[in-house]
């Protein structure tokens, strides 16, 4: 076994997480914690990049394999029918004021956080268009004006997304980082997952909760397949789903919502 580096290196736990992150092998709780740390840490950024390079090198020793020609033609067809997401413009404007209506956001350094969120918002716009959610016409987060000015060129898609609608929107955060957005309507809750980790859909389920005072009401369940942004409609047949001041997401053992949440992974107040 290679000797451990000196014990004085208290960054070691993060080095371990960085390797696990690149390998896509972290447990959900570790992955959530590291997702918060990674953007703040040059060393971990480099460790992830180096691990990724090593992983690519390892693939060189796999048995040669050629995919069938059909993959190419399927891919071409898919590409023809798949619009590209708009490129993220380089932010050139002066730092914006911290959004006032997002009390869970830490006061420090709002701009870097916002920069990271912009692509996610644009992905949401594209996802909404792709799945044909014409009625999904509400602001995604409180940075609406910022977003509007930055991506005005994107025209109809963004305008449609940002138009005020009859819906309740709650950005959910974990450790100050936005991980999902709940868009609640009278009889339907939609979750846009941004940073939620994939769950094992044979053993666990995510549950959306409406929170009011001490009361928690399960509104619906959903699974997360991958770490990409996904849009989940989790309508549960209940009504009044848009009437809660706070929404939350928990990860639960089993496949059904318990009477109260056990492991809350994200919460957020309604902003619109």
């Amino acid at each position: 076994m290679t000797p451990r580096p000196p014990a004085s290196d208290d960054h070691e736990p993060f080095d371990e997480l960085a390797v696990g992150w690149a390998l896509h092998a972290l447990e959900p709780e570790d992955e959530a914690a590291f997702a918060v740390h990674l953007p703040t840490c040059d060393r971990c950024t480099a460790t992830v990049a180096e691990t990724t390079e090593v992983m690519a090198a390892l693939a060189a020793d796999l048995p040669r394999a050629e995919p069938s020609e059909q993959v190419r033609s399927r891919l071409r067809t898919a590409v023809e029918h798949t619009p590209q997401l708009p490129a993220v413009p380089e932010p050139t404007r002066p730092p914006a004021a911290a959004p006032a209506s997002q009390p869970s956001a830490p006061a420090a350094a709002p701009l870097p956080r916002w920069r990271r969120m912009l692509p996610a918002a644009l992905v949401a716009a594209a996802v909404a268009t792709i799945v044909g959610l014409g009625s999904w016409a509400v602001g995604l987060n409180s940075e609406r004006e910022e977003l509007r000015s930055t991506v005005a060129a994107q025209g109809a898609v963004v305008e449609n997304l940002l138009r005020q609608g009859r819906a309740t929107v709650a950005p959910l955060t974990a450790d100050g980082r936005q991980v999902a957005t709940v868009v609640a309507r009278e009889g339907e809750v939609t979750v846009v997952t941004q940073q939620l980790e994939a769950n094992d859909s044979s053993e666990t389920t995510y549950v959306v909760w409406g929170l009011e005072g001490e009361e928690a009401t399960a509104l619906g369940v959903f699974d997360v397949d991958g770490s990409q942004m996904e849009l989940k409609t989790v309508g549960s047949g209940l009504t009044g789903l848009d009437e809660y001041p706070v929404y939350g997401i928990s990860l639960e053992p089993g496949r059904e919502a318990p009477s109260e949440p056990t492991d809350v992974v994200a919460t957020g107040q309604v902003t619109s």
Partner: protein
Amino acid sequence: MGAVTTPARRPEDAERDADVIRRIRAGDRSGLDDLYDRFRRPAFALARRILADDALAEDVLQEAFLSVWRDPAAFDRGRGSVASWILAVVHHKAVDAVRREESQRRRQALAEDDLARSTPTAARDVEDDAWSRVVAQQVRAAMGVLSDAQREALTLAYYGGYTQREVAALTGAPLGTVKTRMLSGMRRLRQELGGTGVQDGALGALDGATAEEGRR
């Protein structure tokens, strides 16, 4: 970067790869065709190794390249080579797919297979060019210097798609030990694959002082 990139790809490939990404970002569909031509074999080999199913691996291949087309901005030049990024996208999607698709029983059987395979073997398919052969030999040699436990942990995670906790359960080691093995194994691999005279990067960094700057 470059320390590990060099053995994996020919140096002159980097600029060509960057150009292909530029074309894809400009909406040029032939750029994606070129990207696919360039990486389909290693990408397929990796997906196939993880999924042990050609049809699923082809689905993952299509999904991975389509995601590159949809969001080419996801590639960040500062974070490594195009080649490693593509393979990381494929790896990620293949692992997601294996976690989705495999029944527990099948996973168990594959795990035993992965454990068996973590022993390095010399007998492999004949590579079709000298460069690949050299790289493959380097990789094999590098894997060979790992301890059995390091190799086992990395193999189960990388090819098996197991989480650290699953690796711990499969190998009967504590979770913390598994994390440490993966890190030390990666450090060792990077050292071996980086060749001699290469400055230690973040993976090999032993100096805690620099890390403090990035801490929160």
